[in-house]
């Protein structure tokens, strides 16, 4: 069981240094962090852990980021989870392709960890507003 206020962020990246660097900083900023090295693992962990937000690299082995996002958005349990695509591809069409796949945010590498955190907070606040009614309803039922 995790703390109600502690958000779980799933970071999917095939480069171990990047995973470690973001994990260090996210943990430092008070997030719970889960990590995955490829798209398939990312998708499996997302299904298993149902994180609050997923940071998804695009160029990934086994299953690439675009496909992983499509599958996450196709699955009812993972569909509401915001996904930030984070890629070293600078071309405009890459961002377009990621949005098409269903990602909710987009960042280009190099992306300093503080900027990622800003983006995550911004997106979670947005999410908070959106999910608030649902949480209230759930409480009401109970």
């Amino acid at each position: 069981m995790k703390e109600p206020k502690t958000k779980l962020i799933l970071v999917v990246d095939d480069v171990a240094d990047n995973r470690d660097m973001y994990a260090q900083f996210l943990s430092y900023k008070g997030f719970q962090v889960a990590l995955a090295g490829d798209g398939q693992e990312g998708f499996d962990k997302a299904l298993q852990l149902l994180p609050d937000l997923i940071v998804m690299d695009l160029s990934l082995p086994v299953m690439d980021g675009w496909e992983a996002i499509r599958q996450l958005k196709r699955n009812q349990s993972t569909k509401p989870i915001p996904v930030i695509a984070l890629t070293a591809h600078a071309q405009e069409d890459v961002a377009g392709g990621a949005r098409e796949a269903g990602c909710d945010g987009f960042l280009t590498k190099p992306c300093p960890p503080d900027e990622l955190v800003k983006k995550i907070i911004a997106m979670l606040e947005l999410k908070q507003e959106e999910v608030q009614p649902r949480a209230a309803r759930q409480l009401g039922v109970q």
Partner: protein, 734 residues
């Protein structure tokens, strides 16, 4: 003359002899005067000569007593001496001797011409002049003459008497004389009556003939008095009381015309003349034309006169007039034909092509001047020219004769090789021959036109040459086209290779960019983690080093981004989003973005934007990128002084000029083009010590071109630089 037949005479004589056979001596002249008177009376009473002769023969026998007597008469109509009456002759003896009057050798004919009696031997029918057998009987022949013994009067007959008594008996001589006179008178009376009868008959005949002639015939005396005229003449010239006035007047008129014509003729003209005379038909009243033939004649008894014969030539006249009319028409027609022919000649001679008309035998009837040049020997002819003409003639004749042998129809055409006799050059001609057929379907000639083929052949030759050249040209074009196709294919392949290379390059750069960013992400990330003290607190020197690490990582990132931009522009993959924008707003945005840097730089930074600046259609992000680049450069390369951003409208050529000027280190003129090249940072000592990538201005110039504008610079070292972006008001993408 009618004579009694001999048999009748004889029978009467023999009967008389049988009735009274007196026996008297004939040698004695004893006839009484009464008997003579009685005989004379009887003779005067008798009309017929034969009766007279019978009376005389009877008288001879009875009164003189001769044994035999025979009277022969010269019948001029039969031209014979024929017996008329006899006495005392037996039927056997009576055989008509009938000698021809012209036969002068006949004894009786000869005796008739003698004045004196001639003695003969033998019988009456066979007399001869010399004594034959002994006891042969003799007789004498006495010529009967109208005027006695007058030599001028021919004998009218012969009296044969036996025995011979004329010398002694005067009575016999008297009888012969009286019988001769009677016969001569009777002859004469008879012939006069005969002549009168003949004359009357002939006269009647003549009248009839004259009357049957349709032509009026008139006989006048010299005074013009009418002697004889025929019926036809009487119709014209004779009038009777009971006839109408008009007819009488016409007849009078005709008479006047006729006498005038005759008198004029008599006065002026020689004998026998024909002239035309206009008379009036008294019955019809119409004009009649006559041809008057008049001849003067003279008669011993009647004197001179004029015979006029009029021949009705009205029909002739009319025919003549018709003939004249026809002749005149013929002449007119002939003139027309001539003029037609002249016109035809003119047409034929005005035709430039040779025309010939030949008869069916091939002889040339007609030709125009161009034909003459080919078929006649020229005046100053050489033997060669004459030979050429003969050859032309032969070729032409053989062609025309083909029309008969080869061609069934009326026309024939074909080529003939002729030679110009003067120049000696060949004249190939196309000949068109046509038969000229008369209305009766008979071939009367052949017309031929020669069409000079030289020009056509020359044209054909030129055409062929042209075609050859054209074909050669086409071949060259084909070759060139094939070469072009080949080269095009090479180019296409090269282009594909280039495209592939370009794509590979883009892909490569994109990959490079991706692969560079990934470790850079870790570098920058870890640096920020350290700087933020995530891994624990750091001393100032460590912090300073990390800051430099961060700045260099930022620089490296900027370099990577610029490389990517250039790659995109070069690959044509830089998108341009045209929107309507206000340049003054855009400048304000840019200025606020760089405000921290301006504050940091401590320079006098101003903006000057004219109030009449119109809106433009362009890509605001690209303009911003350019302006940021220029501003960053200005701030970076201006150690002290000012930086001024200005914008103005340039009506010609309808542009907005955005200028970023500074009072910085400036750029040497030799470097002013170099700075726009990739990694072309001015390599002078002044620029040293400044951080920079050297791709900024290269991107600015490319982006300016992408927006349809232009980037220019004016600068002087140590005085400052002025970069100007000239933008079209209505932007266009590339």
């Amino acid at each position: 003359m009618n004579y009694l037949p001999m048999s009748a005479i004889e029978s009467r004589g023999s009967r008389t002899a049988r009735a009274a056979p007196p026996k008297i001596n004939p040698k004695i002249n004893r006839v009484s005067t009464e008997s003579k008177l009685a005989l004379t009376e009887s003779l005067l009473m008798s009309v017929e000569v034969s009766e007279c002769a019978r009376l005389c023969m009877e008288w001879l026998g009875k009164h003189i007593g001769v044994d035999k007597a025979l009277c022969l008469i010269a019948d001029s109509s039969q031209n014979r001496l024929i017996p008329l009456a006899h006495w005392g002759m037996s039927p056997v003896e009576i055989q008509e001797p009938s000698p021809e009057l012209d036969d002068q050798r006949h004894p009786l004919v000869a005796a008739m011409a003698k004045k004196h009696p001639v003695t003969f031997y033998g019988n009456f029918t066979n007399p001869h002049n010399h004594a034959g057998r002994t006891g042969e009987s003799r007789f004498e022949a006495i010529s009967l003459r109208g005027a006695g013994e007058d030599d001028n009067v021919a004998g009218v007959g012969v009296l044969l008497v036996s025995p011979i008594i004329s010398r002694t008996n005067a009575d016999l001589r008297w009888l012969a004389d009286i019988l001769g006179r009677v016969m001569w008178l009777r002859f004469r009376t008879h012939s006069l009556a005969e002549v009168e009868r003949v004359l009357r008959r002939e006269r009647g005949l003549l009248y009839n003939i004259v009357n049957t002639v349709h032509d009026p015939i008139i006989l006048t005396d010299t005074e013009g008095r009418l002697i004889i005229s025929n019926k036809a003449a009487e119709l014209l010239f004779g009038s009777r009381e009971e006839e109408s006035e008009g007819r009488r007047r016409a007849v009078a008129l005709n008479n006047t015309f006729l006498s005038a014509a005759l008198s004029r003729r008599a006065l002026e003209e020689p004998a026998s003349l024909s002239r035309e005379l206009l008379l009036v038909d008294p019955v019809e009243g119409s004009d009649l034309f006559f041809e008057l033939s008049s001849t003067e004649f003279s008669d011993v008894h009647e004197g001179t006169g004029v015979v006029a014969i009029l021949r009705n030539v009205s029909d002739l006249h009319r025919t003549t007039q018709e003939l004249e009319e026809n002749y005149r028409k013929l002449r007119t027609a002939e003139a027309e034909v001539r003029s037609e022919r002249d016109r035809l000649d003119l047409i034929i001679s005005s035709v430039a092509e040779p025309i010939l008309v030949t008869d069916p035998e091939g002889k040339i009837l007609m030709m125009n001047d161009p034909a003459e040049r080919l078929f006649t020997v020229p005046p100053s002819s050489t033997p060669e020219a004459a030979q050429t003409v003969r050859a032309n003639d032969a070729n032409f004749s053989s062609f025309v004769s083909n029309l008969f042998f080869l061609s069934e129809g009326r026309q024939h055409h074909g080529g003939i090789s002729l030679v110009d006799p003067e120049k000696g050059t060949p004249v190939p001609v196309e000949a068109f021959s046509a038969k000229i057929i008369s209305q009766q379907g008979e071939l009367i000639g052949i017309a031929t036109i020669l069409h000079d083929q030289s020009e056509a052949i020359e044209k054909a030759r030129l055409y062929e040459q042209l075609q050859r050249v054209s074909e050669a040209l086409e071949e060259k074009v084909r070759e060139a086209t094939a070469e072009l196709v080949r080269q095009n294919e090479v180019l296409r392949r090269q282009h594909m290779e280039l495209q592939r290379a370009s794509a590979l390059k883009s892909q490569f750069l994109a990959s490079v960019s991706h692969e560079l960013r990934t470790p850079l992400n870790s570098i920058i990330g870890y640096t920020r983690i350290l700087l933020q003290g995530v891994s624990g607190s750091l001393n100032p020197q460590q912090l300073g080093n990390l800051a430099r690490l961060d700045a260099n990582a930022g620089h490296l990132l900027s370099l990577i981004n610029q490389l990517l931009d250039i790659t995109r522009i070069e690959a044509g993959k830089m998108p341009v989003n045209l929107v309507r924008i206000s340049i003054s707003k855009l400048i304000a945005e840019v200025m606020s973005e760089v405000e921290p840097l301006i504050l940091q730089a401590k320079l006098e930074v101003t903006t000057e934007v004219t109030s009449d600046l119109p809106e433009v259609v362009s890509d605001p992000e690209k303009i911003k990128q350019i302006m940021l680049n220029l501003l960053m450069n200005a701030l970076k390369y201006t150690p002290a002084g000012w930086v001024r951003v200005s914008a103005a409208y340039v009506p010609r050529p309808d542009q907005i000029a955005i200028t970023v000027a500074d009072s910085g280190i400036g750029i040497a003129e030799s470097d002013q083009e170099k700075i726009f090249e990739d990694f072309g940072r001015a390599d002078n000592s002044v620029a040293k010590g400044y951080a920079g990538v050297g791709l900024g201005l290269a991107i600015c110039r490319r982006l300016s071109a992408l927006l349809g504008g232009k980037m220019t610079v004016t600068s002087k070292p140590r005085q400052g630089s002025s970069f100007t972006l000239a933008l079209p008001r209505s932007g266009r993408g590339q």
